[in-house]
Symmetry: C2
Subunit: 386 residues, 2 copies
Amino acid sequence: MNNFEFQNPVKVLFGKGQIENIANEIPENSRVLVLYGGGSIKKNGIYKQVMSALNAFTVFEYGGIPANPEYGVLMGAYKMIQEKNIDFLLAVGGGSVIDGTKFLSGAATFSGEDPWQILTEGIPTLKGMPFGTVLTLPATGSEMNSGAVITKADTKEKRVMGGKGLFPVFSVLDPLVVKSIPTRQLQNGVIDAYVHVLEQYLTSTHPAKLQDRFSEGILQTLIEVGPEIVKDPSNYELAANFMWSCTMALNGLIQKGVPTDWATHMIGHELTALHGIDHARTLAIIGPNLYQHQFENKQDKLAQYGKRVWGLTGTDNQKLAEEALNKTIAFYHLMGMKTKLSENADNFENTSQIIFERFAERGWNELGENKTIGPKEAKEIVEMAY
Amino acid sequence: MNNFEFQNPVKVLFGKGQIENIANEIPENSRVLVLYGGGSIKKNGIYKQVMSALNAFTVFEYGGIPANPEYGVLMGAYKMIQEKNIDFLLAVGGGSVIDGTKFLSGAATFSGEDPWQILTEGIPTLKGMPFGTVLTLPATGSEMNSGAVITKADTKEKRVMGGKGLFPVFSVLDPLVVKSIPTRQLQNGVIDAYVHVLEQYLTSTHPAKLQDRFSEGILQTLIEVGPEIVKDPSNYELAANFMWSCTMALNGLIQKGVPTDWATHMIGHELTALHGIDHARTLAIIGPNLYQHQFENKQDKLAQYGKRVWGLTGTDNQKLAEEALNKTIAFYHLMGMKTKLSENADNFENTSQIIFERFAERGWNELGENKTIGPKEAKEIVEMAY
């Protein structure tokens, strides 16, 4: 097991009716900026619940943060933070709104010239403006971690940021929000969480047995509840299991002490930036091809995954691994994913070449748990996905 | 799934050589009181490593905290904290030293007359004196939770305390310590952690699927590494899995959103108080009899446990549950436990009656996840264990 540090200070308020408790978690007399997305929270009643819970505070709001939170849009909120002397941020939304809020938390305390530097120069945020979240879309785990992904539209870039200052002070996880999520977003949420686990699990084998068991437990739960929650999103118990699985998939716990991959994400981000494909769907396109490309490194773990998660039997690891891969693709299809790039984008023929060039330009030569994925391999994987 | 709040701010420093990093986690100019037990840390080199890491601080020490940390002994350290103006505590030991340090953390900030009131009146510690831990004996999970159990020798009492002020600021988990732990303590550690999980898992069934999977993962890991670590305590990877499993068994995560039992512990504590039996061994004596006594309530969960953890097959839940119980007892025996009270104590005949009276006196009428265990049931369970 690798040495590790683990600390996750987020206070999770989980369950029905928890939104009304947020006032207890925000410092008195705070000037709160509520951030949200396209306005679905005004239709499903969450906006009203949040505003009612905040009635003792001076509240401002900034809506319209798009999926793949966009730098230009966020800079509008950044201006507002300064003009209105905001001192507490509240994200009400899914991963995009929460990630956008993390950017603002970091930008508000950034001493450099241009907040975009945080992303291009990889500057960690050690102390950000405090913020809470009310999660409306289980998927990314952003509500209980300290990372964010930000998009710049004009240059078609997706960049990551992080740092221990970017943990939410609190996060409300009320499974009642799930019933008003559209099918496509539910599908995306399940697959996003599933691939988060695979990035931290489907590597070369290693001696950290408990972390493997936890990862397998999340995968098994998602396999069990994923197809059901899509059919019956108002089932509270399914929603609760779905929601908690998404959070646990990326709150830092299962990655401690083990090698991690993340190359599927790095390639997938490019597909979103270039073609606007939903994040989760890029993972379903790239992942299986990446595992196939790295089959030799991952074969034994794929076999373990096949046996423990999919209940496969046998002793031939190669066969088990192949079968596990097929089970995975079938699960993605069952969850409404189309796993070929050609099914998700027009004019995709240059994609592999562009990704090759971007990887080369950034010096991304050693991605994956064995540092075996560079520009050439990324290009090959993308072409396998055509 | 039940509503829950979850927050665990402990910073875990896991792995080889982490002791030397503790100085970074303690505020500058602290006056540190190092607390330890019977002195084994002076033989195995840990004392030296800790003192060397603390050389920039003003350091005092207080050794001799016994297993089942004793109020009278702790009050000696309490006096020292006041006389020496201590402002940071460092527990170097197992669960007993850490629990004792938690008591001191709470006592140091307690505004009442007598710190023993914290335990008799169940007063939560919301802000204690800050403390860190260097774990030398994986077992109790105390290094990553906010609870403690304290013993009073003159009245033969074991009492619990807790509160969000009792989380360690940091805990060092260095698996290298495992190699110098005596066999009996290793056996106890495995069983203690195992029963911690069962208290939070082996209840009536409930809809929280992910929590069940995590619990099953810890149990499977302990079953896998437990017998091996006893044979080969200097195997680092076994030690690391054992250590992390013990911590995860009782850091609050797996109990969130689910019913919990804890009656095995409440009865077991009395066996330690009355007969001085090792804590883990009391759990191995009581647990299986309690599950048998509560068979109707727990049968379906026992069957699930049998299938998922022990790999049993079949569809008859009663048979599966019985077989799972037998597997559990066999595992306890394999781990060196003697599961009858008569094998662990002389003059035990009055035990059930004394426990009946103590339970009655304290009004413990509704223990267990279904509130079905009171004085009469505790008496019956203890007699089943004779």
